[in-house]
């Protein structure tokens, strides 16, 4: 993931989860961010789809465990 893509991802997390100070790292999970509930998780993933012009399968949205996995998934989708 390029620095620009990382910055865009951070921006999306901050906007959707309403936390301007949020710092992304690979081990960050929903349990670490109070506003990252299942309700916001779907919104977040669909915002990522729109901004990165990719499409996730339902089970990919449901089974993500942390930010590191999400980055890898985005990279795979962007690669093809």
């Amino acid at each position: 993931m390029t620095p620009d893509q990382e910055a865009l991802l951070t921006e999306l997390f901050r906007t959707v989860l309403g936390d301007d100070a949020l710092q992304l790292h690979d081990r960050l999970t929903a349990k670490d961010v109070p506003s990252w509930d299942s309700f916001n998780h779907v919104n977040l993933m669909l915002h990522i789809e729109t901004q990165f012009k990719i499409r996730f399968a339902n089970d990919e949205i449901a089974s993500l465990r942390d930010v590191g996995e999400l980055k890898q998934l985005i990279d795979r989708k962007l690669a093809g």
């Binding site: 309403g18 109070p34 506003s35 299942s38 309700f39 779907v42 669909l46 399968a57 339902n58 449901a62």
Partner: protein
């Protein structure tokens, strides 16, 4: 089939010993066979035969969901519809209308028996939309009708069960798993037969029927249900641990939850996870994709309401449970609103105030959950 009866515990011992044997089979298939034997020992050969027949029928239905089938999605929706209708048929006690077709009635009862129906829906979704591999009929029976999770859950997911699709090797005696399994079974027995039954006997007498005519009774019945259900679940988890069969933990101290949202993640957690996997997330994703991210809040609340309505109706096909489900979804929506609006401010409150809120949270949860129980009790408990 009482999980604390001698035939059931004997079946558990036989299953445990059988799962230690190394045979040149996949673990899931061997578990399927062992499970049918355990069902026969614990509930009689008719139950085992019905389980085998049902699994075969379900397998034939699922077979056509394989990836080569281009109309997989439509077919999966049809299967979901048939499963759902058979469930309504059973829950609505409509099988009494066709007594002459007792075999058909039997099959419908088996398909629609609560937990089997939920597991079948989970398998349909996983195979149709997640492209999970289809297990063979014997292995499928071990997922659909596991003897230790048949009566009161919990509900393992189809994907979780697939970890058993690997070769079975001779197993050394897993001493820690055995100790923790036996400990869980004994804990379950104490919770069910001592704590839950003491509450019931103290409130209604030895042979008394459970009825809820006052709020105080609703509170006591909530405690009774909690210990009774937790007892069954913890025993099932212990047996599952000893057998090496995925058996999720169903209760995480729900009565200490600070919010109703947290409560439903902690009470009958495997049902909550089932509803999230099979109803809430697919529906929310579909609605947001259809109506746009601008309407994400509407999509979230609508999906939550439908998920609660289905789980409510799963308990009883009844207007009270539908109203209860709508009330719960509304509460969760309000909690979500409060969390989004005031969450950061609440987290900045002085520690003393936060400690007070932490104590008040479970009181609020117990109050509302027992109110809900009081409301739905006439549908469940009849003298």
């Amino acid at each position: 089939m009482d999980p604390f009866s001698l035939p059931f515990l004997g079946a558990a011992v036989v299953a445990f010993l059988a799962m230690r044997i190394g045979v040149p089979w996949m673990r899931a298939r061997w578990w399927g066979l062992v499970n049918l034997v355990a069902l026969a020992l614990a509930g009689g050969w008719k139950l085992a035969a019905a389980a085998a027949a049902l699994s075969l029928v379900a397998w034939v239905g699922l077979f056509f969901l394989r990836p080569a089938n281009s109309s997989r999605s439509s077919y999966a929706k049809l299967l979901l519809l048939v499963t759902g209708l058979s469930f309504v048929f059973y829950k609505g006690q409509l099988q009494d209308l066709i007594p002459r077709f007792s075999l058909v009635g039997w099959c419908l009862v088996a398909v629609s028996f609560s937990y089997v129906c939920l597991r079948l829906i989970d398998a349909i979704r996983a195979i149709a939309w997640e492209r999970a591999p289809l297990l063979d009929p014997l292995s499928l029976s071990g997922f659909l009708l596991p003897f230790h999770m048949l009566l009161a859950g919990p509900i393992a997911s189809y994907q979780e069960h697939l970890v058993l699709a690997r070769p079975l090797l001779p197993q050394p005696l897993p001493f820690p798993a055995v100790v923790s399994g036996i400990s869980a079974i004994l804990t379950g027995l104490v919770l069910k037969a001592v704590v839950a039954d003491a509450i019931r006997v103290a409130t209604y007498g030895v042979d008394g029927f459970i009825i809820v005519e006052s709020y105080a009774q609703a509170l006591l019945v909530l405690l009774y249900l909690y210990f009774d259900f937790w007892g069954y679940s913890i025993a099932a988890t212990g047996i599952g641990r000893m057998l090496g069969v995925p058996t999720p933990v169903n209760f995480h101290a729900p009565l200490l939850s600070p919010t109703i949202t947290a409560f439903w993640g902690n009470w009958h957690a495997s049902l909550g996870e089932w509803a999230k996997r099979n109803i809430y997330l697919p529906l929310q994703i579909a609605l947001v994709r259809r109506f746009g991210i601008a309407r994400a809040n509407f999509a979230g609340i609508a999906s939550m309401t439908v998920a609660f309505a289905v789980t409510g109706l799963w308990h009883r096909l009844d207007w009270r449970f539908l109203a209860w489900a709508a009330g719960m979804a509304l509460l969760l929506g309000v909690e979500k609103l409060v969390r989004d609006r005031f969450g950061p401010r609440i987290r900045r409150l002085p520690p003393r105030v936060r400690i007070m809120l932490r104590w008040l949270g479970p009181c609020y949860v117990i109050w509302l959950i027992s109110l809900g129980l009081w409301f739905t009790a006439p549908s469940v408990f009849r003298s």
